[in-house]
Amino acid sequence: MSVAQFGGQVAAEAGGPGAGEVEQERRRGRVGYLLLLPGLLWLVIFFLVPTVQLVATGLYDPNGSLDTGYAMTWSFSNYWDVLVQYQEQFLRSFGYALIATIACIFLGYPLSYAIAFKAGRWKNLMLVLVIAPFFTSFLVRTLAWKSILSDNGLIVETLKTLQLIPEDGRLLATPVAVVTGLTYNFLPFMVLPLYASLEKIDPRLIEASKDLYASGVTSFRKVTLPLSAPGLVAGTLLTFIPAAGDYINSELLGTPQQRMIGNVIDNLFLVQLDYPAAAASSVLLMVAIVCLVVFYVRRAGTEDLL
């Protein structure tokens, strides 16, 4: 909610401005702004300023270096250059993130549904299990997947025995491994919002639907699914956005052939020390994600979330 809307709402809730009410309304407006202030300050200092700085760094002279310093040359070509050069990694990032998000939906929806409607007294325990992985670090969990998927690990051996993959086949260092890692790491972000919106559904609505000639499947399609849409949209955003920017999974479970844009930015900033290109890539990633999210939320018809 914007500041202007906030003020407007305060005014609207205060009702018609009668003689004595005007002063009260003004005071309420002031309180509203006052309460916003700490959060606003925080955002300005730690979000707005760095973002502006990042966009600006992307416009610095690409020939500068840490030793010689960077000059502001308004080099818009930086943006175009990284887009062309790292096109493949950009596309791969969105591709992997999309597949991982879809996998999260198919794994997470039944799970959330079961927790919300069928778990009974196990509900809380199951929720704890969903977030239990957060008790260890992201890095350690991904490293664990490295050994799970390793060439002589149980999974690969089993798949070989079942002849689902060829004798020289492997999982680690393949796109499958990276997408699997992404899916695993971001699944809770799908499950929790989905659970929250499923749990809120009044079971009487399902009964009403069945009373009105809808079978179990139709009731799900016409009532449960639309009512869980806000959770589904929130879940896909919370999964897709970090997955698209992730570099750990690709780093640990993949090879340079599975490099994502996160690895590129990491490398540009910390290894090549090419700050203008690194900044330009980051800004492009951000813009691309914002565009995709706006498009998606519009299509999903859940603008209330934005």
Binding site: T218, V223, A229
Partner: protein, 386 residues
Amino acid sequence: MADGRSAGADLTLTGVTKRFGGFAAVDDLDLEVASGQFFALLGPSGCGKTTTLRMVAGLEEPTAGTITIGGDDIGRLKPYKRPVNTVFQNYALFPHLNIFENVAFGLRRRGVKDVKSQVDDMLELVELGGYAKRRPAQLSGGQQQRVALARALINRPQVLLLDEPLGALDLKLRRQMQIELKRIQTEVGITFIHVTHDQEEAMTMADTVAVMNKGVIEQMGAPADLYDNPATTFVSNFLGQSNLVKASILDTHGDALVVDVQGTRIAAPVARARRTDGQVWVGVRPEKVFLGAAGVEEGSYDDNVLPSGTVTDVSFIGVSTQYLVKMPWGQELTVFEQNTGAREQFRVGDKVDLHWVAAHTFLLDADQDAHAGDETYAALSGAPTA
């Protein structure tokens, strides 16, 4: 399934039982509702009335017994295969659909043609013509109630089930909707099964009322019959108020019984006696009783009289005055005197006699709890209602 124009059909429950664990919510229930009736299931919360309704709707499976509609056994059918529709408590309108789509839901599921004209007609019937595009949350409670009714009625079910449909409305709106519901029922001629805990609501609207308690039907009949001739202490207290006084039957004189009430002899019609010998509760409704100054002849000579009471409380309620009269044996009886202006007013401490027409007396089995179904007593003493 309803063929579009069919009116209601008979509903029969035979030996229907529902157990949750060891607890029998509905216990061997037999019930017959004739086609086109407005039938009320009345009882306190937890008496099994909603469970009964849900079993008819198919939302609860009976542990035993059969349910038939128009002769077809529907007891094991899935809810969406039954020719019944439900108006849910708190309405259960679909929040993601507008009013039009809420009402059209059942028609769309059955693939009915000309949905638009049917929905428009139905919204006219419940006087919500201009609200088709609104969302349920934008409507008032009374309007939502009517949408819920329209959503169920549009399917022309053979039996319409209403689960406390007016429970969430305020008193004034409830009165208005009672009349409205009755009008619509008369207009569409569908069998209505109305579940409620509000005795006044049941009596105003229903042709037949079944009073339920602890999973069984205590008594069933026309509202006036139930009120004037209750079969149990529960019915006498739950439906209106009753004065119940311990007494014993002395003798029979033709179609009247002679009863000894704490030393005073009164008469009671055999037709209204639930037992004809031994210990009984003598019952009389508070508004049937009138007060006279102690020892003064009042009314006709064959009235029943309980003498020597003392007025302990007087509450003026506008149309009537409510007296509490303490009798010599310590019990307080309630008397409603209508404020006609023609009758003497009494004050606290006055000595009075209680008079009533002998035909208004009813006799109940003294083995039953005199306070069963008395919600005020239960609330004051903390004892369970049933």
